[in-house]
């Protein structure tokens, strides 16, 4: 059996009294695309932030290529980040820098010359379907363009693993399809491993090789899109069909 690219074991994280993650286990195999679905506020973003080292887990392990990242020192962890790309929900572009400097940021920090980095940024922007935006500032971009620039920035340093945090939130259906296709293309062309968090079932079905649902701090099951459709678990059924009545205990509601 191949070692999983990412292995999350018994991950726990609480904020104050609130247990957000309560023992999450998740495996992502090399070259695979896993989509984590779940209600808002079930800790999907916290899960990704723990894997990236942006939050310290209370318990549990995070193994990437068999190496435990949760115990690494800061500097070591930063070095490992070169193998990772991350697309943030709001794109999180640096608004003090032009588009091309945003895209080539990691390369420039690694000491690449301005000219070479700019060419490389242009290529990657071309790849996500953007032309002549290199010298624009992020504030001048529309939401969909910002997201594509964010995607370009995430892949510019050729990462092995890409994380997507709600990649389709806030986009119109056409742009959502454009981004989904881009993600699929990147996934198949560059042989990267992807971990996506989403609440869109459409994205989960089209982009996920496997889907995991996070509910009340645990993940229920990992399954393929087909299995998801035939799954009889009432909680998963309610989520997939998007009904407000059912066994799911909504925060703030009494059921």
């Amino acid at each position: 059996m191949t070692t999983p690219k990412i292995q999350v074991q018994g991950l726990k994280k609480s904020f104050g009294d609130k247990k957000v993650l309560d023992g999450v286990d998740l495996d992502v195999l090399p070259g695979e695309s896993v989509v984590v679905i779940g209600l808002s506020g079930t800790g999907k973003s916290v899960l990704i932030k723990c894997i990236l080292g942006l939050l310290k887990p209370d318990a549990g392990h995070i193994l990437v290529d068999g190496e435990d990242w949760s115990t690494l020192a800061n500097d070591e962890q930063l070095l490992r980040m070169r193998r990772i790309g991350m697309l943030f929900q709001g794109a999180a572009l640096f608004d003090s820098m032009s588009v091309w400097k945003n895209v080539a940021f990691a390369l420039l920090q690694q000491g690449m010359g301005n000219k070479e980095a700019r060419t490389r940024a242009g290529e990657v922007l071309e790849l996500v379907g953007l032309h002549n935006v290199e010298d624009k500032m992020p504030a001048e971009l529309s939401g969909g363009m910002a997201k594509r620039v964010g995607l370009a920035r995430a892949i510019c340093h050729k990462p092995e693993i890409i994380f997507y945090d709600e990649p389709l939130t806030g986009l119109d259906p056409v742009m959502a399809d454009v981004i989904t296709r881009l993600m699929q293309r990147l996934h198949s062309e560059f042989n990267v491993t992807s971990l996506t968090i989403a609440h869109s079932m459409m994205l989960a079905r089209t982009f996920g090789n496997r889907i995991a649902m996070l509910y009340q701090g645990r993940n229920l099951k990992q399954m393929s899109p087909d299995e998801l459709d035939s799954c009889q678990d009432p909680i998963i059924r309610q989520f997939v069909e998007g009904r407000s009545e059912g066994p799911i205990h909504l925060q703030g509601n009494r059921t």
Binding site: L54, M81, I84, F88, G90, F94, D95, A106, Q109, H157
Partner: protein
């Protein structure tokens, strides 16, 4: 009961803040020994902290020196000691008013902008994004601001001292009719070099306070636009208060 609750919340807030500043300071000191130091960013921040603060700082210093000459003249005139005006102006500018007033002005201008800028970057996940692009946000954002504040404050104060003393000279000589030669002589006669050093040393400390408080408030900011607003307010209030308190402590312990 409500009063107790409010008091408790206030105490908690103070201790929370009090823990955050040393924490950030330790994180900075841990990193400062080894590169990268981002000299380009330090320069950019030095321009923002120093050069762009010049108009505000110099105007403050000029009028402070002028009013100081005027007020002390009124007082000394009552018992015929007008020639002491020059000494009072230069001593108080160098030892006290230069560093403190510049510190307070810069706390309002620069401390607030540190907190607002870093706070916005925090809530829009730009700080997290730096991390995922294998760049340490503390090194990249906090350290250049902290270092440039420490370097630029003494330089600003040196200029402010000179302008303030010049303001006092202008008022005394051209308005109050004092002898220019003896005014200049009295300006330096009772002033020691350590008066100036103490002021510049204080300025460096105030720079550290402004950089640390402004960056800490922004860097650990939470909760959207409202959070950024609160962080900015706290940055100005806490750094101004810390400047005044530490000014007393520095004077009492080091430079009596």
């Amino acid at each position: 009961m409500k009063v107790l609750q409010a008091l408790g919340a206030w105490v908690e807030a103070v201790f929370y803040a009090a823990g955050r500043y040393p924490h950030l300071l330790i994180e900075i000191l841990r990193r400062i020994k080894r590169p990268p130091w981002f000299p380009q960013l330090i320069l950019e921040q030095a321009e923002h902290v120093g050069v762009q603060s010049l108009p505000v700082v110099l105007l403050t210093a000029l009028f402070t020196g002028m009013v100081l000459a005027l007020q002390s003249y009124i007082g000394f005139h009552r018992f015929g000691a007008e020639n002491m005006v020059a000494t009072v102006v230069s001593l108080s500018m160098l030892r006290e008013l230069g560093p403190v007033l510049v510190g307070l002005m810069v706390a309002g201008r620069v401390g607030a902008s540190f907190a607002a800028e870093l706070g916005t970057m925090r809530v829009s996940e730009q700080i997290d994004a730096l991390w995922t692009l294998s760049t340490d946000p503390l090194r990249y954002l906090v350290m250049p601001r902290f270092i440039s504040a420490i370097i630029m404050l003494p330089l600003l104060v040196a200029l402010a001292d000179a302008i303030g003393i010049f303001g006092g000279y202008v008022i005394s000589v051209f308005m109050l009719g004092q002898n220019p030669h003896s005014y200049l002589e009295n300006s330096t006669l009772y002033v020691e070099l350590r008066d100036m050093y103490s002021g510049l040393f204080k300025a460096g400390c105030f720079g550290a306070i402004i950089g640390l408080v402004g960056c800490a408030e922004g860097f650990y900011c939470q909760g959207g636009a409202q959070g950024v607003g609160q962080a900015t307010t706290r940055a100005v209030v806490f750094s101004a208060m810390s400047i005044l308190v530490s000014d007393y402590l520095l004077t009492a312990w080091l430079f009596q």
